[in-house]
């Protein structure tokens, strides 16, 4: 079938898998594509394939709420997320693609005295780590975002907020397409409709992957499969401390510009921004139970809407256009797991839980470096799987929690 002459050029080829690659990345979402891109850009590795069981960036990359920030509590997290934010700041230009990256400011609301203490502590910790952070009292919150109800009427009144002005949002599809186009231009094969069904491991070292499109030999294999990482790890014969949960989000009908910043609240489990197109984008908390079904319970959406309306009475007559869920892989300390696995030359990058989108370039950068050199990138080192044995956890439940 010939395509209509008005159809724009495709941004990447649609190749069949070759029999062998130096590096095979499993998972063609944001992190997998960023890893492929940086393998080529930073390390000159282009004999690389990205295997995606569905279509490119059709999983969590298409389902997240696109919030970008780096105001995490601990040094290790601040370092990797700030590295990522700095990459975001130059990424549109570097990839020659408008990512609609908008540093409109991210508010993290405090609704209780403990929230206030935690928020102020995080502001100071951020500043010590060179991450921009401010503490706003309730009146300043109202000034920064006039449509928030900061009165004492709501069940959980707004008592203040942290503000990261450099935080914001980006257009997730554009990010995926831009990374895919550049990876493809380097000669990397982006192979869609190719599900990994097993690993060939000889002498404790991975030699090939078995896929729905045949065997592919690989010097190194890098997992970037988010919610399905546990399934792959089981095929490779090791366990990871991950649990997969549905995380729901929704968009409203299109509205005139009404909200020009990102508002997040851990306590009442909602986060809101207004996309460029005009819809309100809202995220909920995870559904409690383990699941791989990409849908969640309506009661979670109801609770999220109730919280949103407490904060924003102006949204009371806004209609929900659609809701959906992605499957997120949650780790015990709400921090990612990056690095080596018990199988030699098989690497893992997972556990980003509810907040992986913001890390897309930073994650790809450190993961590519880890794969290329066979040892953890310094920013990735604290996030190694071994921390669950040594006890050196990076507990980001405060900064990450549900509203990630």
């Amino acid at each position: 079938m010939t395509r209509p002459s008005t159809h724009p050029d495709f941004l990447w080829r649609d190749p069949d898998p070759r029999p062998s690659y130096d590096v095979v990345i499993v998972g063609g979402g944001g992190h997998g594509l960023a890893t492929a891109y940086y393998l080529a850009r930073n390390h000159g590795l282009t004999n690389v394939a990205v295997l995606e069981k569905g279509w490119l960036a059709g999983g969590n990359m298409a389902r997240n709420t696109t919030i970008i920030r780096s105001n995490y509590l601990w040094d290790e997290s601040a370092a990797i997320y700030e590295h990522s934010l700095k990459l975001w700041e130059g990424l549109s230009e570097e990839l020659d693609y408008d990512l609609q990256f908008s540093q409109r400011g991210v508010l993290n609301l405090a609704h209780s005295l403990s929230d206030v203490r935690e928020g102020r502590r995080r502001v100071e910790a951020n500043r010590l780590n060179g991450v921009d952070a401010e503490w706003l009292d309730a009146a300043e919150v109202k000034k920064f975002c006039p449509i928030i109800d900061v009165s004492d009427r709501p069940r959980h009144p707004v008592m203040g907020a942290t503000l990261q002005r450099r935080g914001g949002i980006a257009k997730h599809d554009h990010v995926a397409w831009a990374l895919a186009r550049q990876a493809d231009a380097y000669g990397i094969d982006l192979i869609q409709g190719c599900e990994v069904t097993g690993f060939e491991i000889t002498g404790g070292r991975v030699a090939a992957v078995r896929t729905s499109r045949g065997r592919i030999a690989a010097g190194k294999v890098a997992l970037a499969a988010a919610g399905h990482t546990s399934v792959l790890a089981e095929l490779a014969g090791f366990r990871l401390p991950l649990q997969s949960h549905p995380l729901q989000a929704l968009v409203s009908e299109l509205l005139e510009p009404v909200l020009d910043c990102v508002v997040m609240s851990n306590a009442v489990h909602v986060y809101v921004s207004q996309a460029h197109k005009g819809e309100l984008v809202m995220g909920a908390g995870i559904d409690a139970y383990n699941s791989y079904g990409q849908r969640g319970g309506v009661h979670v959406i109801e609770a999220q809407m109730a919280a949103a309306l407490e904060l924003f009475p102006i949204f009371s007559r806004v209609r929900v256009l659609r809701t959906w869920a992605g499957i997120v892989d949650v780790s015990p300390d709400a921090s990612p797991i990056i690095g080596r696995t018990p199988v030699e030359n098989l690497f893992v990058n997972a556990g980003w839980g509810t907040g992986g989108f913001k890390a897309t370039p930073g994650s790809g950068w450190v993961y590519a470096d880890t794969i290329a050199h066979g040892r953890p990138h310094p920013l990735a080192e604290p996030f190694a799987l071994e921390r669950f044995t040594t006890g050196a956890l990076i507990d980001e439940h405060g900064a990450a929690a549900v509203a990630h």
Binding site: E234, L242, S244, Y289, N290, S291, Y292
Partner: protein, 77 residues
């Protein structure tokens, strides 16, 4: 919304329950290595398919019980 069969109260809405994760995690016997302890504390099965798991009828009879649920179809048997 799941409909969860409480062994005491019968089928009830998911919102009455709290989730307890994988069933059958036994406290390790005797001395453990760091690896064994980490496995006990942090490692849980995460299957795509049938899963034995704990639920707590928090807003009902307050019984802990185990069900087998499919993590894709959400069917409980």
């Amino acid at each position: 919304m799941l409909l969860i069969p409480c062994p005491f109260c019968g089928p009830r809405d998911e919102t009455e329950f709290r989730y307890g994760g994988q069933a059958g995690i036994a406290y390790p016997d005797g001395e453990t290595t760091d690896g064994e302890w980490a496995a006990y504390v942090f490692m849980r099965d995460n299957p795509k398919g049938w899963f034995h798991e704990r639920w707590f009828h928090a807003h009902g009879c307050r019984t802990w019980f185990t069900v087998e649920r499919h993590t894709v179809t959400q069917e409980i048997r």
